[in-house]
Symmetry: C2
Subunit: 340 residues, 2 copies
DNA sequence: CTGAAAGCGCTAACAA
DNA sequence: TTGTTAGCGCTTTCAG
């Protein structure tokens, strides 16, 4: 029966249309009797207020744009699911925008689209908005939270784990357990996470007085990571005894390549450490030693930050960095003991 | 700077507000000169039409609701990504609704929410809408496509692969390669896919004159699948020589359990076949023999079906079943040859 | 082709 | 507390 409007309900209940509006508006003043009458009529007609019409007036759509690159790295569907649940609690829903880290022009289009939908806020997961695009959103008054990515320019709020420290911890652990020829297959060097994790790696080595065995950009991509692995093991100068990989998603490819291409054993021949601790990492097939990103806290902080931005525009940008934790599993071994 | 409206643009260009509307409305009649003038002013003001306001009139929000259970089975993020890209081409975007196959009441709420947003259509992936809820959507005139799920009642359109045939093929392959003690860890028996795949399994066995070694409901859940595996291997009556598992997601758990709990080899001790062919299945760590769901065709048909429903309400419900294909990889072996 | 005017379904003053 | 009224930003008749 097509659309039932508030007017239909009003007529049926024998009250004014505004009375209907009020009973469905949080915090409006309606008497109990009125509310009851209206609710009854509404139920009978199966009436629901039209959010879009409401948005037009209130200026709030209750839609949050989630901008995300690919969904093949399990970290992101996991985050999407958790973000969606948390936002639902607050009466928001997620409109998905896929942005494949492509050209500025593509990004431009995505921003256009999400402005069109009058979204109340943006969660940019894994993608980096250029300065000009960020400014456009600011002009349009759409708050942005960066999730798992930071901007050099501190005008944008962001939530990440401390990638530098996490990578440093992981590397120090490898050093403490007797590894000396450490390679790094890094996250994409065009991303903050990629660079910061690489920096943590080299910093730990430097402090220890060691040179990296090698650093290759894996670009957060399975194929690139496999290439990198092959390159690493084709060196004539002896093999690495440990590889720190920029994220778990690449790690799985690296491990597969080491085991099934190279025919080497993990961790006996080479130790592996990842970053993220996605669910797959704890599955026995990989059982990966990795730096856990505190995803629940990250989600929580992202939502809180976004809500703050939406409700009082006063808040100034904050770049939150949460502590990660090294989870030791089966892809690393203590080479110190072995020598004793 | 808040919102720039069509009126602002109109004033700046020195034309009427309707002229602005027309230049931004597909298929409206405007002269080239007028369009140019308007576009110029619009660009200068960084104007974009407000989709929500437009929706109010046209009755189309360009929002599609994707209702999905969990995102931990890689099949769904993959589908989400592909659906999103395909819909974007057509000018639609996906609003995510997580429905954890819970109570009727929860489902009720989800339907409420998606009606609120005036979505143009619903893609129900993996969740089954009860009859009454489906009817409510029909009353509200919101078309529904079931994705990877069928309804007994044929009033809803759906796209699936032929689960019965796929399962039958898989089982026949196991029989043809000399397996005789076939167990099935099934998909959730409350779902059409779970039931149809189980039916394909038993049908193939029956034709061959064999009894199933055992059938246990794994409920599309990792933990349940592991439990089922343990149960299977605790039987006193000899072990199964092959297991057909209801989907790949459970399969990974089953394989891990067999290898790392039981200490058995795949496929030497037991062959394994899955269903779906998610990306992970082709990774060397699992290298899974499985029935491929033709996901691209499924996506394509789902979108086409939905668009048909949206544009001409005339179309009557169609339950499309696409052909799946057995992909033979490393988790099965030919036991016939061995005996020769 | 263009402008004026009506109205989509709703909320938010404003009176009563 | 309630009803009346004026828009939110847009599309779509309807005249011209």
């Amino acid at each position: 029966m097509g659309k039932v409007t508030s007017l239909d309900v009003a007529r049926k209940a024998g009250v004014s249309q505004s009375a209907v509006s009020r009973t469905f508006t949080e915090g409006a003043s309606v008497s109990v009797g009125m509310a009851k009458k209206v609710r009854k009529a509404a139920d009978e007609l199966d009436y629901r207020p039209n959010i879009l019409a409401r948005s037009l007036i209130t200026g709030r759509s209750r839609i949050i744009a989630l901008v995300v690159g690919y969904l093949d790295n399990q970290f992101y569907p996991d985050a999407l699911e958790k973000l969606s649940r948390a936002l639902k609690e607050k009466g928001y829903h997620i409109l998905v925008f896929l942005a494949s880290n492509e050209s500025e022009q593509e990004a431009q289009k995505v921003v256009d689209e999400l402005i069109d939908y009058q979204v109340d806020g943006i969660i940019a997961a894994s993608v980096s908005l250029s300065h000009s695009l960020a400014k456009r959103c600011k002009t349009q008054n759409i708050p942005i939270m960066l999730f798992n990515r930071r901007q050099d320019n501190p005008s944008l709020s962001s939530v990440t784990s401390n990638n530098f420290l996490g990578a440093k911890k992981a590397t120090e652990y490898l050093l403490a357990t007797g590894h000396r020829k450490l390679a790094h297959i890094s996250g994409w060097s065009e991303t903050s996470t990629g660079r910061e994790r690489a920096a943590g790696f080299t910093c730990a080595l430097e402090k220890f007085g060691l040179e990296p065995y090698d650093i290759i950009d894996g670009m957060y991509n399975r194929e690139k990571a496999i290439e990198a692995t092959r390159k690493l093991f084709s060196k004539k100068t002896g093999l690495p005894d440990a590889i720190f990989v920029g994220n778990d998603h690449m790690c799985f490819a690296v491990m597969d390549s080491i085991r099934y291409d190279m025919g080497l054993r993990i961790p006996e021949d080479v130790s592996i450490v990842g970053f993220d601790d996605v669910p797959l990492s704890s599955w026995p097939a990989y059982n990966l030693t990795t730096v856990r990103q505190p995803i629940n806290k990250m989600i929580q902080s992202t939502i809180k930050g976004l809500m703050d931005l939406i409700h009082n525009d006063l808040t100034e940008p904050k770049q939150l960095q949460l502590e990660g934790k090294l989870i030791v599993r089966g892809t690393t071994t203590n080479r110190v003991k072995e020598k004793e």
